[in-house]
């Protein structure tokens, strides 16, 4: 019988000796080269963290493989990062380069530190979820292949944190990312009255719609959707399988940019939509990779050193962002939901 509520593994048992010994005593760090962090303790101890890109969706073999490397180079310990990279924790400086070589041999990229593009936080997509408007892993692979050079180098103005969410539930928490790739539906739900009748609580379903587009349909013992009011958020579908929202013809991807969460220099910011729709073109999503590269490179060419995407755009102004990137501005980018008012330009001072 399982023990209930024993809680997660005690982290203390998962820490390598060098960390146990220098816990809370780190004095400073350096970033000697892409993917390598050197943390120095008050005791003088040096810890090298080697950051390795991961597809996140991995097999047993992958985990066992990195375990082997950890056993060989890191006293049998490793960690994962908040962005799903693997970090090898090397206490012996002499093992750094051999480890990097071993990783290279396995095709595992070392990078993602400092002014680089780190791994893309992402979600399930067509691999495992029921509401996606796009795939997750596939888009991530296509984009990271395309931007690979920026993972393994540190030549950007600042760190670049990308996220992908395959539907508006936004499990990728893309809403505060430098670049957010977001799966979007574009047509109202098609109602399967049978399914609705079977197991759906009509009042909850009606209440679930943020725009009030759903009304009860007593005749059918189901509901009816006012298409003009529907903004395809899919919240009703999350509540009720009978509100089929997936539409292969019209689902696709929106791009938002300029979010951040760190408090350094400027306050956290939301990502803002700059491209309302790009088609799903598997397996390589060329429209998406191109759009992302354009944004990254325009930023790289124009931002001051140390300036995150959002800081750069807020400095130059969004009107200038559209000029520089050549992205078309349309009414779709103007907010019309409940907090729209704060986005309207209540000033006569702007750039042409």
């Amino acid at each position: 019988m399982a023990i209930l509520d024993q809680g997660p593994l005690n982290y203390k048992e998962q820490l390598p000796p060098i960390i146990k010994e220098n816990y809370g005593k780190w004095r400073y760090h350096e970033n000697p080269k892409p993917g390598v962090l050197k943390h120095v303790s008050e005791s003088g101890a040096e810890l090298y963290s080697i950051r390795v890109g991961s597809p996140r969706l991995v097999s047993l073999d992958f985990i066992r493989e990195i375990c082997e490397l950890a056993d060989e180079y890191c006293d049998g310990y490793l960690r994962f990062t908040a962005r799903h990279n693997v970090e090898f924790l090397v206490s012996d400086a002499a093992k750094v380069e051999p480890l990097i070589a071993a990783l290279g041999a396995k095709g595992l990229p070392v990078g993602g530190t400092g002014a680089s593009i780190s791994n893309i936080v992402h979600t399930q997509g067509w691999v495992h979820c029921h509401t996606p408007a796009t795939d997750a892993s596939g888009v991530v692979k296509a984009v990271m292949d395309d931007l690979y050079e920026y993972f393994v180098s540190m030549k950007l103005p600042a760190q670049m944190k990308m996220s992908l969410a395959c539907c508006l539930n936004m499990c990728g928490a893309a809403h505060c990312s430098d670049i957010a790739i977001v799966g979007v539906h574009r047509t109202p739900p098609r109602i399967d009255h049978d399914k609705i009748r079977k197991g759906t609580e009509i009042p909850s379903l009606v209440a679930s719609c943020p725009t009030g587009a759903i009304r009860p349909n007593p005749k059918e013992k189901s509901v009816v959707v006012n298409d003009a009011k529907c903004m395809y958020c899919g919240n009703c579908y999350t509540m009720a399988p009978g509100m089929e929202i997936i539409d292969p013809e019209n689902d696709g991807i929106a791009i938002l940019v300029g979010g951040k969460v760190a408090n350094a220099r400027t306050n956290p910011m939301f990502s803002r939509m700059v491209i309302p729709f790009l088609p799903n073109n598997p397996p390589r999503w060329p429209e998406v990779t191109e759009a992302v590269r354009n944004i990254v490179e325009t930023w790289a060419a124009h931002a001051h050193k140390g300036e995150k995407m959002g800081e750069w755009i807020e400095r130059i102004g969004w009107e200038r962002f559209f000029t520089l990137t050549g992205i078309e501005f349309t009414d779709k980018l103007i907010d019309d939901f409940i907090f729209s008012r704060e986005t309207f330009r209540t000033s006569a001072a702007f750039k042409y």
């Binding site: 998962q14 890109g53 597809p55 991995v58 979600t123 795939d135 928490a173 969460v261």
Partner: protein
């Protein structure tokens, strides 16, 4: 099942970034379900749509969460995906593992599931991706035996997570790993048995760099900070100057409050203590010379969440500074969070995150009910409208 080709997915084995397709293929060698997944996914690539149904209710005994039910809508063609559920394992603080722990997970999962995993899920759990209904309880039993426990799902406390903190980072203003572990253990009931209006996430970041993105990704963000003045090592400052760092341009000019002053002649760096907002910028640029103050603790922010339904919210300050050292400090945090949950539980609508509840009912209502004093740190700026609600006892009768 007959061998089929997967030309689209094969395409994604090319390129320099490690390929998830390769991973699925590796799993497919050992596991039928993974093999079918490969082909179902190829089909999704052709049809540009997923083939998964709404999850039904599945789970393990004694828990309400931790498992996500998943079924393909093409069970005849992909019988091994008829049920393909997810198991969430609550990961250890800071995502640290010894290889033994990882191998244990692998061994259990090899026996009882698809062999595919996410390291990690977006909330921070280790995710076992794809198994059948009858394997759920055995998996849990096996995991439990080895000291693992499940993470949250549904309307419960989600597995809290934290940054690497004092484990490896010189900026950590409190022990994120311990705080996360301690608080997670306290709320095992809330984590495993959904009973709230909706989900509730907690994330711990050791400083305002917020490496867990807690302000965006958690209902409750615990962000390390300090109450006194940051400390400056003047010798180290001089060393940076010698290395050629343009302190004025890179550090001082970009300090948001212009609190950091560099005297180019004396090469001395000083801070106007009361002007510093502890944003971390100067420390980030000069970690050898500048460090957080001595009186450390955390700022608590509440209300973060993503877009659905009322728009994305970022967490906002509800406690500017709280000590986070002794068990008694954690207790203070727990007392507060319990009052908050109680209020939310009473006032929240179904599927309403706490930020949305507060937005609907007003900060004053919330603050008064949970007994938090109003301070200017809670707002960027005061209200622009004069629509104050006056309590009866402040009004003349």
């Amino acid at each position: 099942m007959a061998e089929k080709r997967t030309p689209q997915l094969d395409e994604l084995e090319k390129g320099q970034w490690p390929s998830f397709v390769t991973e699925i293929k590796k799993a497919a060698v050992k596991n039928e379900a993974s093999k079918e997944l490969l082909h179902l996914l190829e089909r999704s690539y052709e049809e540009k749509r997923g083939h998964w149904k709404h999850g039904g209710i599945v789970g393990v005994k004694g828990y309400g969460g931790g498992v996500i039910g998943r079924y393909t809508d093409l069970p005849e063609e992909y019988p091994n995906l008829a049920a393909f559920h997810t198991v969430r394992i609550n990961s250890p603080s800071g995502w640290f593992y010894n290889t033994k722990s990882l191998r244990t997970i692998c061994d259990i999962w090899e026996k009882r599931g698809s062999g595919l995993m996410n390291f990690h899920g977006a909330t921070g759990d280790a995710i076992l991706l794809g198994t059948t209904t009858d394997q759920l309880q055995p998996i849990f039993d096996d995991l439990s035996e080895e000291g693992f426990d499940l993470g949250g799902s549904g309307s419960d406390l989600r597995s809290p997570s934290c940054c690497v903190g004092p484990g490896r980072c010189e900026h950590a203003c409190y022990d994120t790993l311990e705080a996360c572990y301690n608080i997670t253990n306290q709320y095992q009931d809330e984590l495993h048995r959904p009973m709230w209006p909706y989900k509730f996430k907690i994330k711990f970041s050791g400083c305002a760099n917020d490496c867990t993105a807690s302000i965006a990704r958690s209902d409750c963000a615990v962000i390390g900070t300090w109450r006194d003045t940051l400390t400056i090592d003047q010798e180290a400052v001089k060393a940076y100057v010698a290395e050629g760092l343009n302190i004025q341009a890179v550090v001082c000019d970009r300090c948001p409050t212009k609190a950091m002053k560099f005297n180019a002649e004396t090469q001395e760096l000083s801070v106007i203590a009361e002007e510093c907002t502890r944003c971390m910028h100067c420390i980030n640029r000069m970690p050898k010379a500048i460090a957080p103050g001595k009186e450390r603790g955390a700022t608590i922010l509440l209300g973060g969440k993503s877009t659905i339904v009322q728009s994305a919210f970022m967490g906002w300050v509800i406690v500017p500074f709280m000590k986070m050292e002794a068990e008694s400090d954690f207790q203070e945090f727990k007392d507060m969070i319990e009052r908050i949950w109680e209020w939310w539980d009473e006032n929240g609508k179904t599927r309403e995150r706490i930020g949305e509840t507060i937005y609907r009912l007003g900060m004053t209502n919330f603050l008064t009910s949970v007994g938090l004093p109003a301070v200017p740190q809670m707002v960027y700026r005061p209200r622009a409208n004069p629509y104050v609600f006056w309590p009866e006892d402040e009004i003349k009768k």
